[in-house]
């Protein structure tokens, strides 16, 4: 079986969709040369008209994509930095997202916003290290955070084919993950995946943290049987899949690389406790409230959720219910 990196899986997804559908085109900064190493080779293969380098005008090119989508195309925008989404928040949330309802169903806005390298890129400091996916889950824009190469491929393909705006976060911490992949195929939006079955506690992990959760689960295997649930799509959230898991295990720990307050971890806990009576209080391991990532590598790490914190949370959860 061929081994594929997460990054190349994204490239493959873009290439396949560009080849499959004339309506698809890419927009972004330095994507012809491929500065993010995701769009490498695409300009040569599909032409600079379909792989369009933009000036540094994020607001305009985001709305340009909205207009192109209104006219029937399917733009994919690459953003070099997660915080650029803050700069175009209005254009996505107040325009692209709202057009279908506000026009009374006259249109669709199928735009994909791709952020390769979201979250901490060690050493890039405060303005380059955010993980703002929960913001999009709050406003109700489809939000995807793939953890594996196969899911990166399959979810990006589905995002591009989806008729509403979709934000795809490709965590820096997952970009170099490699995996054996036999056949690549679309992965449905809104459907979670159980990476590892277990009996005692369900750990929900988001994006690159899925790999940390799996590592901790292995580490603790002789003490506690950990199920690892990867939601893959944060909005809409696969609450049915998760409920099924938690109903079996009776315990919930969430591992999430976003700020704590009003983050997806809070939503997961709220949604679960509305439905399931737990054997122990749920726990979450997240970034702190209001986190800004400091530059110095040790501080940068200290602000992100760690395996140790997860292991502790799992132990405490088991203790609480014994």
């Amino acid at each position: 079986m061929p081994r594929l990196s997460y990054r190349r899986a994204l490239t493959r997804a873009l290439a396949d969709e560009l080849a499959r559908d004339e309506a698809v085109f890419l927009l972004g900064e330095d994507i012809q040369v491929g500065a993010s190493l995701v769009t490498t080779g695409l300009a040569k293969r599909f032409g600079v008209d379909r792989v369009r380098d933009t000036p540094l005008s994020e607001q305009a090119f985001t709305s340009f994509a909205t207009g192109a989508a209104l006219a029937g195309l399917r733009p994919v925008i690459e953003f070099q930095i997660p915080s650029l989404l803050f700069l175009v928040f209005e254009q996505i949330v107040n325009h692209a997202h709202k057009f279908p309802l506000m026009t009374g169903g006259q249109c669709a806005v199928p735009v994909t916003y791709l952020v390769p390298g979201s979250g901490s890129r060690t050493g890039w400091a405060g303005q380059h290290s955010d993980h703002p996916y929960s913001l999009f889950a709050h406003v109700g824009v489809v939000t995807v955070v793939p953890a594996t190469p196969a899911d990166a491929y399959g979810l990006l393909v589905s995002a591009i084919r989806h008729d509403d705006p979709v934000v795809v976060f490709a965590p820096a911490g997952a970009m170099d993950v490699r995996d054996d992949v036999s056949d690549l195929e679309p992965v449905p939006l809104g459907r979670g995946r159980i990476h590892r079955f277990g009996d005692d506690v369900t750990v929900v992990a988001v994006g690159h943290l899925v790999h940390d959760a799996l590592a901790v689960a292995e580490e603790l295997a002789d003490q506690v049987s950990v199920e690892v649930f990867d939601p893959r799509t944060l909005y809409p959230f696969d609450i049915d899949g998760l409920t099924e898991s938690v109903a079996r295990t009776g315990r919930l720990v969430v591992l999430d690389d976003a700020n704590r307050s009003c983050g997806i971890a809070a939503e997961i806990i709220a949604s679960v406790v509305e439905r399931v009576r737990l054997l122990a209080p749920p726990r979450r391991v997240t970034r702190p409230d209001g986190a800004v990532l400091p530059f110095a590598p040790a501080l940068d790490r200290a602000v992100q959720p760690s395996r140790e914190q997860l292991a502790t949370a799992i132990h405490l959860t088991m203790k609480d219910s014994s």
């Binding site: 000036p55 340009f64 207009g67 006219a71 279908p100 006259q106």
Partner: protein, 323 residues
């Protein structure tokens, strides 16, 4: 494709005028909830520009957007129905005054965010041209919008990629209560010119002057000339928003208002018609508007159970908010 007929141009101007006057009445009567930004006094601009467009063209408007939608040929009855929040409205009652849209005739929508439409229309025109249409686009905006970074970015994008968008700045002297001189360093036309966008100023109160300027620009754009800007000097005859009818905000000197209202596009264009033609148009417009209002008020309201029906074009449904 320019429509050079002065009678039809007058009809459009007159239609917008009467539509807006009736709309203001409906606001006062409580049938239009939330109020409107009346286009009164600026009718010549939408009418003149739209007379220069062909069927394949697209436009996007503003919060003061009724004129743009009507001038492009949307059904006044469905427009009134929209303002009254009815199921038969252009947007099925979901959009209201600031979001009225009719994509079937290339109206991508009024837009409540100042400066937002420029980049959207640029993308739409670029896309339609890639699909083989000979589309040009129009982005209407006010004098306030030229201070929004997103619009200036759109100027750059359109100029750079030579997307034929006609940027129409309706300079009515104020952004709400802020006079142009207090908000715009340099000049409006100069701002476009800085991006290599050809810019002209025109008397926005003269519908034919606007039409001619727009027609010339559209011709050049179709010939591959890239985007252009028209600054149409105009005056808003009424309040910024009908909200001001209840709360008096003091910012326009009375004599300025009097002077501004003296140059009325309805009269200016009306003078170009015979009395008989003018009377015929007026009567026809009156009948149209009457029927349109009746249609709107007789139309059903949407069912609250359908409040989120169009939220996702993909057919996704949203989790509701109940306990």
């Amino acid at each position: 494709m320019t429509d050079a007929d002065p009678v039809r141009l007058y009809r459009t101007v007159r239609l917008i005028r009467r539509f807006e006057q009736r709309a203001v009445e409906l606001v006062h009567g409580g049938q239009i909830v939330g109020g409107i930004h009346p286009y009164l006094g600026q009718e010549g601009i939408a009418a003149g520009v739209c007379a220069a467009l062909g069927t394949d063209d697209v436009l996007a408007g503003t919060h003061r957007g009724h004129g743009h939608v009507l001038a492009r040929g949307a059904d006044p009855a469905r427009m009134f129905a929209e303002l009254c929040g009815r199921l038969t409205g252009l947007n099925a009652g979901r959009g209201g005054s600031m979001h009225a849209a009719d994509l079937s005739i290339g109206v991508l929508g009024a837009n409540a965010i100042v400066g937002a439409s420029g980049a959207i229309i640029t993308g739409a025109v670029w896309a339609r041209r890639r699909q083989g249409h000979d589309t040009v686009g129009v982005s209407f905006f006010g004098d306030g919008a030229v201070n929004e970074g997103m619009l200036l970015e759109a100027f750059n994008l359109a100029a750079l990629w030579r997307v034929p968008v006609l940027f129409v700045c309706e300079n009515n002297g104020y952004a709400t209560t802020m006079p142009v001189a207090g908000a715009v360093a340099g000049s409006i036309a100069g701002r476009a010119a800085a991006f290599g966008i050809r810019a002209v100023e025109v008397d926005g109160q003269d519908p034919e002057a606007v039409r001619d300027a727009a027609a010339a620009a559209v011709d050049r754009m179709r010939a591959g000339g890239g985007p252009e800007l028209i600054e149409a000097r105009t005056y808003r005859f009424d309040a910024h928003h009908t909200f001001e009818h209840a709360v008096r905000l003091d910012y326009r000197p009375p004599d300025e208002v009097t002077r501004g209202r003296a140059r009325d596009p309805v009269h200016i264009q009306g003078e170009r018609l015979s009395d008989a033609d003018r009377a015929a148009v007026d009567a026809e417009v009156e009948a149209t508007v009457d029927a349109a209002v009746r249609f709107a008020l007789d139309s059903p309201e949407p069912d609250p159970a359908d409040a989120l029906t169009y939220l996702y074009a993909s057919g996704m449904t949203a989790r509701t908010g109940g306990g």
